[in-house]
Symmetry: C2
Subunit: 317 residues, 2 copies
């Protein structure tokens, strides 16, 4: 199968109409005409076989995750995803694989209103890069550096499931079959919190997605904002069955791969946040408070400090 | 060396001021505030070790090329490059290597006025992805689908040098030492034709950069525009010494990796194009004409058809 057939057959033909898209796939670059009242948000994530995914993953699950992790970055900015460019390096292009990959990719792209407007394909090791672009009304993006002392700290969904599934894959733990199934689904098909993120631009102060581990990702907010936090680890949302395993605090606080949002908001927005969560059918949990003292304190419900062997995922450790 | 130290030390600190950049590296996404009178051009290129470059390439040469091939896409649109996101997967991060890589990257970025505003770093095989963004005044981008019957066909610089250097690396040919040096320099350090491209938005009809081979890349213009072309292969610019080798026509017509521009323009713009070439110190050659008959005919100076074994580079052949 030739590269250009691949591009033409699966990407050009699937491109959707878009009032701001002047020129899509098939030239040296795509052209967009920005909406003058909006800021454009841009982010890139690279996923490598054997590191970010198992190379025997199904084409459909792989395509989903490659795009979902990027949608999660837009969610963390409160941005509406608009356009994406996909670069693909795979050892070979097999037609069935390409078909499954593209069907899954476009299903997710369509669901979130994203237009795939460009990219690159080449033979190589398993490597995928997506650059995603979205927009917010000018000045309304959710930044990391905007947390304020006294803010509530919230987290969406449930933490630790993806990491627990990985520990099972690595045979470091054996989860019950139904628990594994739920964790594996969370690992393979995280739900980008885009709808809630869009509501949060007018409610929250700071936000970030949980990709490298809750504690580490929250620490980015704290550092950027010059503040600290106290977290009630027992209040962190997870699958209850995971608490039967001694590693549960590690999975929840430092596991990563969750693609939930952690965000801070003033206390007077609690009701509005719960309302936005209900409107967007997104679970949210109140898990801590922003403090003046620039430490991140992880406490259990008895007020005892929780210690972690590792704070999160460093891509070069 | 930790990922976050790498990002902070080398990228955040080098970020330049930019009136349209609201938020740079260090959040879930960068934010730009578009200029309302301009279109935004976006393109991604992925380079894989062992395929697009030798993995023993110097860090400085590698960084140069990773960005240059993307600048070339902006040149082919006539766009002014503005922002880039760099994703890097390398087996390990060594401080000397990172220093050399970043020094070279930012030297080229500064020369072309590009701000590195985001990206990703991960351990993995040698894989680099750059997404580049640039702008033109609204509606003025150089597209592939705008060639018109009777247009002159022009090409910048010289073709075939990079491929000749590769043939020498592969020991399929032995070039004289000084010839090899010139070809290797062209392969490692192509000059993106950005300045000329900016002039061409008001002079040329269609343009494209020569990355996969002149004939194949020109064929993209022809197909998109529904036209054909006659090319005088002997008029294609190259290093004269290469013509002593029987493979020269292949190198020039189908070699690829040239990162020159091929563009079409009405005959009455000849003088203006030569003037723009002089202003931007870019060599240009008139090499053929756009025809109504939708074939690409490669002829020598005697009018004999030139046949090529292969028309260009397919990334999956």
């Amino acid at each position: 199968m030739k590269e250009f057939d691949f591009i033409k057959q699966y990407l050009v033909n699937r491109q959707s109409q878009d009032g701001q898209l002047v020129l899509g796939i098939g030239d040296d670059a795509a052209i967009i005409r920005p909406d003058t009242s909006h800021d454009i948000h841009i982010s890139s994530d690279m996923l490598i076989g054997g590191r970010h995914f198992f190379t025997d993953v199904s084409a459909a699950d792989l395509a989903y995750k490659v795009l979902a992790v990027n949608l999660s970055d837009m969610a963390a900015m409160g941005a509406t995803p608009k356009w994406a460019l996909l670069s693909v390096a795979v050892p070979q292009l097999q037609e069935d694989w390409v078909q499954d990959f593209c069907d899954s990719l476009f299903a997710l792209a369509d669901e979130y209103g994203v237009n795939i407007i460009g990219g690159d394909t080449t033979q190589g090791p398993w490597a995928f890069n997506v650059t995603i672009m979205g927009q917010t009304p000018q000045g309304l993006g959710l930044r990391r550096d905007a947390a304020q002392v006294g803010d509530d700290i919230w987290v969406t969904g449930r933490l630790g499931l993806a990491c627990a599934a990985l520990f099972d894959h690595w045979q470091e733990v054996q989860l019950d079959m139904d628990v594994f199934a739920e964790c594996e689904a969370a690992r393979l098909r995280p739900r980008p919190r885009v709808a809630l993120g869009q509501h949060l631009v007018s409610l929250a102060h700071a936000a970030q997605d949980v990709s490298d581990g809750f504690a580490q990702d929250l620490a980015h907010i704290l550092k950027a904002s010059g503040v600290g936090a106290v977290i009630n680890v027992d209040a962190l949302p997870t699958l209850p069955a995971l608490k039967h395993h001694e590693q549960w605090q590690h999975w929840v606080c430092a596991g990563g791969d969750d693609y939930e949002l952690v965000f801070t908001a003033p206390k007077h927005q609690r009701q509005a946040i719960l309302q936005a969560a209900q409107t967007t059918q997104t679970a949210v949990s109140l898990v801590g408070v922003i403090t003046e003292q620039t430490d991140l304190m992880l406490l259990d419900s008895d007020g005892e400090a929780v210690t972690l062997e590792q704070w999160g995922f460093d891509h070069f450790e």
